[in-house]
Symmetry: C2
Subunit: 478 residues, 2 copies
């Protein structure tokens, strides 16, 4: 084992699934939520790839999620090796290449374990064992993909065909014949029956060197712009911001299409069936361990005469009751509720598209808005007023700003706020308030060691988030 | 028609149905909600019994609902003849007797049209015609009950058996053989097939004199305490508050059991089938006029591949999506959601009982709390703080009060507040605030002509509604 190069987890964290709406929305996708258990899927993905043999993680994410990534890593007491910000989503191929180029410059022998951030693998130790077992093969230059033992004729995944003589139940990397695109039902049934096919989970163990070589051979056009984006990257508050101008020239492609379907130095590492991509609510139901009646119930959920049903209430202040439901899912949030036949879970995406077309904000926006300094939520919106709860992290500060169309009343209900209003700076304690007149230049900071919670009452003729002039911002948003 | 005595609508408005939970809760039952159309069921009941031949309504209700009744009558521009407050619910018999005694002292020939406040009768004109047609018979001393043409073998209602030779489709009162208690399925089927049975809708046309005579004959024990409660009633802010001490001795009974099942001066007025007691969500679905797919959708509700399904979102800020649902109901509120098979609608009551047993406040409490001066709702409850939206009616005032455990910040966001804090009285306009220290004696009034809306931020160690000392109250709650 001592000869194996260090394995660098490369966590792909840019995507935004809508199939688990309303819990997963564009503004706060499912990897950042505690869908199963107490930690978020992203945190579980990071924890799973830590320990002996593993380097600190490299995270690839998008601009809107960078502070959520940092916050969740901090909460999991993980110091990342790097957080690479993709200026725009370009699918997995450029992300993997960027990570390879970035890592190669730090560790010439780096192995990369590329994994999505929104999958579930309950047996983390077994997964690490499989990774370590595959490491020599990857170090030798092969492109190792992880193949999951299939349990159903799934048409939603790509499949992997093992080479003649390879053993699907082996615990070492096997020869791979080819990548199979998402099949139709008949082909899926045939592959399930054949026993020589595995699911493609989108998890790879690759040496940075082999990745770069594969791109040079099969997707040469991607090299120059991605290299320019990495070489031109800027360090920004601890993030590595890939160069946007260079990135704009990067073609959009998946790692499967760009590389894997063309390469001949492929291997597959078979892995047990304790894996799920939580692709829809049906999968969440299955992963949560249904009870004797086949039900999965969250806190605040009550089932009468239900079977095979998922009832999730996502808010402690909301009760959810199901009566006589069979093979259904119901997920309730204060601003959005979905009820569906479990077998129609895939159509959730369609519903979100319909809501989006109608301009419904819940289609894409999560009720809680995460910012670098903490988060806020709107408690009520009236005709000429709005009330928000604002939570500011210890040591954090909002930008120095002013508004053209609203005044604000701030009442501190927990902790201490340092408040700037025009030329005056003062400390506001719990149960104290301050008034920010229209046009005043103001800032809110939390100088303390505990979270500061503040109720903001806005009044004015226009209350949009875009009525803001920023003068200074520690998060470089001016 | 000129010889017919005036018909006094007697609206029974004390009940609290839980079968339409979460829209109908103990603290705000279904008759006060706009379940169908824009007016509430109570308002529709009052409007239905107005016009030529009808006196102003007499409403019987309970202590918690008295201001809601007044408010909804005012909104419907109806001046009641009286609002009688039952100190405790004692079922329909004492309520009808109290109304009869109260009316007899004002109009010796009074006819009473006794009706629940939570039924739907789409063709109000036809109903009034039927009432007027039955009036001579009631004036002559018979007890006239309204019989609905049955459309199904309903086991949830009592039935009425017509006398030999009576005509179920007549438009004049017919002879009634007997009241039939809620039947089993076989008996319900037999009655439906026989054609000589009608549903008992709990609607009666009776002379006050005949009611008193019937009680004297069949339920004599009720007379003395109910008379004492009526004679000892107190006028209180326009309400007639029945004497509580006397009322405590009144036995609990329904008008059917106490009188109708024993009387021999009965008649039945057949009525068309455009009637519903909205007894469960299935009935609401049916009354709302399902579309071509059998669906009933509220605003903010989206159906994909649904049939025979009711999707109701009760809040403009909450989206409800149904996918692949067949014969289901889903009703969403920000604090409670129910999803049920339409045929299991009757079990909603059971669910509410289960929630109650767990001490869940949503089982009984509506999120909006109606008070004599307006209403309030809690927007967020934290560990040591709570934020409320408070809406005060023009000219209304909260009690002069103080709290032991909390301070309050008030921010006016609409209208003008007249605020008393200890010895100081001042006017607070939109976008102004005032602080109420712990222990300060304070009051909030709306001196204006428009609704006043105020955001209250409470901080303190205990934030219960019962931390209140009332010094003065225009609504007699001190």
């Amino acid at each position: 084992m001592t000869d194996t190069p260090l394995i660098h987890p490369v966590i792909l964290c840019g995507g935004s699934g809508t199939r688990l709406w309303p819990l997963s929305r564009q503004s706060y996708p499912k990897q950042f939520t505690p869908l199963i258990g107490d930690e978020t899927l992203f945190q579980a993905s990071v924890r799973r790839l830590s320990g002996v043999g593993f380097a600190a993680p490299v995270v690839l994410t998008g601009e809107p999620f960078r502070f959520i990534v940092l916050e969740q890593l901090a909460a999991a007491q993980t110091q990342p090796q790097g957080v690479l910000i993709e200026p725009e989503g370009r699918n997995t191929a450029p992300a993997v290449l960027a990570a390879a180029l970035w890592l190669a410059s730090r560790d010439a022998n780096a192995l990369m374990l590329v994994a999505p951030s929104d999958h579930v693998i309950p047996d983390a130790a077994a997964f690490r064992t499989a990774i370590l077992a595959a490491a020599p093969r990857a170090a030798a230059g092969d492109l190792v993909t992880f193949g999951i033992h299939p349990t159903r004729a799934e048409t939603g995944y790509g499949w992997l065909e093992l080479a003649e003589g390879a053993d699907a139940s082996a615990t070492t990397p096997q020869a791979l014949a080819r990548f199979v695109e998402k099949p139709d039902e008949a082909n899926a049934e045939a592959m399930l029956a054949a026993g020589s096919y595995l699911w493609n989970a989108g998890i790879f163990l690759l040496s940075a060197r082999a990745v770069i070589a594969a791109f040079e051979m099969h997707a040469r056009e991607m090299i120059a712009p991605v290299r320019a984006a990495v070489d031109g990257a800027q360090d920004d508050l601890g993030f590595t911001r890939l160069n946007a101008a260079a990135w704009a020239d990067v073609p959009d492609n998946s790692i499967d299409y760009a590389i894997m379907e063309h390469a001949d130095n492929l291997a597959v590492m078979p892995f047990g069936d304790g894996w799920s991509d939580l692709g829809d609510w049906n999968a969440v139901w299955a992963e949560c361990g249904p009870d004797a009646d086949g039900n999965v119930l969250s806190d605040n959920a009550t089932a009468l005469g239900c079977a095979g049903t998922l009832l999730r209430s996502e808010d402690g202040a909301q009760e959810l009751v199901g009566i006589g439901l069979e093979d259904m899912i119901a997920v309730a949030m204060p601003d959005a509720v979905i009820v569906a036949r479990r077998n129609d879970s895939q159509r959730v995406k369609e519903a979100v598209t319909a809501l989006k077309a109608r301009g419904v904000k819940q289609a894409t926006e999560f009720p809680v808005d995460h910012r670098p300094w903490g988060w806020f939520e709107s408690l009520v919106v009236g005709e000429r007023f709005q009330v928000k709860r604002i939570v500011v992290k210890p040591g954090a500060a909002l930008s120095l700003q002013s508004h053209h169309h609203r005044s604000e009343h701030w009442i501190v209900v927990q902790g201490t706020a340092k408040v700037t209003v025009d030329d005056e700076i003062k400390l506001i304690g719990e149960n104290e308030s301050v008034y920010i007149p229209l046009g005043a230049v103001h800032r809110m900071e939390n100088p303390g060691k505990l979270e500061m919670v503040l109720i903001e009452v806005q009044t004015g003729s226009y209350l949009g988030e875009d009525d803001i002039i920023r003068y200074e911002d520690v998060y470089a948003r001016t």
